[in-house]
């Protein structure tokens, strides 16, 4: 009975996912679930399989075995397009934005509103972009600025504003705080709190336990293609978590 309830609460449920890359057994029957409105920290050493798992969810890889349920329905995700149509939005370090394009062109990339004959409604794009950024607490001078002129934190803000604006149901944050200054990290964590306030589920992948401990409600630790630990925040301290990550990397 309790299990049933938990299933209905899930926005994402991945069951017994397996993935091979040639002879490398990258994922060995991983179960992963994410509740509505929940933020899960996905942890593990390099090569633990967390990127592979997430890339299966976002459509870059297709699993060799296993099922994915989204919003209660069984789904097949074959491309980033499929994932995006479901409402899965990715905020990747390098893969989210086109640096030389303007902020508004980035926010509406692939979903540009048109006035007819394929002509973009630039005014609408500019206004809504600025509004979306403001909702996030980001005040930028102009929607025409190329993204390359923004700071690292502001760039993550643009990608997150885009996810919120298009009402994503699940946001994948892949190392959103890597290579940022302390001030920018705080900015980005604030953006992620906004995602939480909007009630959007998110998966926060990182190496930095301090950043994720502040913000996530549950932690999943992976190692060598397997899920090692799945633990609620109230059940662990930061030190426990750190030990768990190190131990699971050393097991075997």
């Amino acid at each position: 009975m309790e299990y049933e309830n938990r299933q209905n609460d899930d926005i994402v449920r991945m069951v017994n996912i397996e993935k091979w890359f040639g002879r490398v057994y990258a994922l060995r029957g991983v179960d992963f679930h994410l509740k509505r409105g929940e933020t899960v920290g996905l942890l593990g050493d390099n090569g633990a399989g967390k990127s592979t798992l997430i890339k299966i969810l976002s459509g870059y890889h297709v699993a060799d075995k296993g099922d994915i349920y989204f919003d209660g329905k069984k789904v097949v995700i074959r491309s980033p397009r499929d994932a995006r149509r479901l409402g899965i939005e990715t905020v990747y370090q390098e893969q989210a934005l086109a640096p030389n394009l303007s902020i508004s062109r980035n926010i509406f990339m692939g979903r540009e509103p048109v006035k007819g004959f394929g002509i973009m409604d630039k005014k609408l794009m500019d206004e809504e972009s600025m509004q979306a950024l403001q909702n996030l607490g980001l005040r930028l001078r102009s929607p025409d600025l190329p993204v390359v002129t923004l700071s690292g934190g502001e760039r993550q803000g643009v990608a997150i504003a885009r996810a919120i604006h298009f009402k994503a149901k699940c946001v994948i944050l892949d190392e959103p705080t890597v290579a940022l200054s302390v001030k920018e990290v705080n900015e980005v964590l604030e953006f992620i709190r906004e995602i939480q306030r909007e009630g959007i589920s998110s998966i926060f992948i990182t190496h930095n336990l301090y950043h994720v401990y502040e913000i996530a409600e549950r932690f999943v630790v992976m190692a060598r293609g397997k899920k090692m630990t799945d633990v609620l925040k109230e059940d662990v301290t930061l030190d426990d978590l750190s030990e768990l990550v190190i131990k699971s990397a050393l097991v075997e």
Binding site: S58, P80, R81, R84, R85, T90, Y92, E94, Q95, A96, L97, A98, P99, N100, L101, R105, F108, M109, G110, R111, E112, V114, F117, G118, I119, M120, K122, S142, D144, T149
Partner: protein, 327 residues
């Protein structure tokens, strides 16, 4: 900041500024140094606009494609192959507009083939189109025996005036086509959603794919635009000279790259605009014409091309750095 100010500012700091300066300086130089100011003579301008537009139209397509991050080194060979195709269709005694339409179909197919090799084969387009450049040129030489062949289109005055006539008494229609294609491609690139997909594909293909853009299809369309423009120019050329020449378009591939780069287009894609490409294309055509008018031996043309390329790219880099330094 008022809107007008910002438009003005953007114009000043845009990458196409340097090509605009080069363009003006060259006009002044050619005017001052040509004997009896012959450069600005209406007869010469007519020649410049009529002949120069043939290359310039193709350069527009090359620039459009370059924004997606791809090259086409086979433009000259597509041109000559399409000329030959035109000749063969002409031999079937069809209406000349039908002949042109069929030729454009061939051009689009050759563009599509370049795209398939590049996209499906996952080969850099530089290599893929280097291959097709040699392939189509070689096949055309083989089929044609490398000889000129008459293709007299004067039987259809409507066709000749469509591709090789004048607007009013002066303005060569080729230049009108150059402007028309420039505007069409400019509108697509800057105002439509397809344009945003093209920029996104060139700037960060991973991001574009993650946002659901079909980058393969965007690239295919862009390669086909180049093929179509080459075929159209094949029609223009034949209507001008009334014959097929196996050597047409030789060396145009690198001149086209030069025109785009001079016009502020990034070789890596994602950066560039149509007005810059347009001016770049026109400048390259103008240099060839201007040096002839100045009676400077032809081999100097390449010296000037080289200097113009290096100067304009250096200055646009400089402007770029200034621009970011201000922010």
């Amino acid at each position: 900041m008022t809107n007008q100010e910002s438009i003005w500012k953007r114009l000043i700091v845009s990458r196409s500024l340097s090509i605009f300066v080069v363009f003006i300086v060259l006009i002044v130089l050619f005017t001052v140094f040509s004997p009896q100011g012959r450069f600005l003579d209406p007869e010469n301008l007519k020649v410049l606009l009529a002949y120069g537009s043939e290359f310039s139209i193709i350069a527009l397509g090359a620039g459009f494609l370059m924004v997606t991050g791809e090259f086409d080194l086979s433009v000259g060979s597509i041109l000559v192959f399409c000329s030959f195709a035109f000749l063969k269709f002409f031999g079937l005694h069809l209406n000349l507009f039908v002949v042109l339409a069929l030729t454009i179909g061939v051009g689009a197919l050759l563009g599509l083939l370049n795209a398939m090799i590049t996209v499906k084969g996952q080969i850099p387009s530089f290599v893929a189109t280097l291959g097709t450049m040699m392939l189509w040129r070689g096949l055309t030489l083989w089929f044609s025996g490398g000889e000129q062949q008459a293709c007299d289109v004067s039987s259809s005055p409507a066709f000749v005036s469509f591709l090789n006539g004048n607007l009013g008494n002066f303005f060569p229609i080729q230049a009108m086509w150059f402007i028309v294609f420039g505007i069409i491609l400019g509108v697509i690139l800057h105002l439509t959603r397809l344009g945003n997909w093209i920029y996104s594909t060139g700037d960060n293909a991973d991001a574009a794919r993650a946002m659901g853009i079909r980058t393969d299809i965007v690239k295919m369309l862009s390669f086909m635009v180049v093929g179509i423009l080459c075929a159209f120019v094949a029609g223009i050329q034949i209507s001008r000279v009334s014959c097929f020449t196996a050597r047409t378009g030789e060396g145009w591939e690198l001149k086209a790259v030069a025109a785009c780069v001079v016009g502020g287009t990034s070789l890596r894609g994602g950066i560039g605009n149509m007005s810059g490409i347009f001016l770049g294309a026109f400048t390259i055509s103008m240099i060839e014409n201007g040096l002839v008018v100045l009676r400077i031996p032809y081999f100097w043309t390449y010296v000037v091309f080289g200097l113009v390329i290096i100067f304009s790219v250096l200055s646009s880099m400089y402007i770029e750095r200034q621009k970011w330094a201000q922010k």
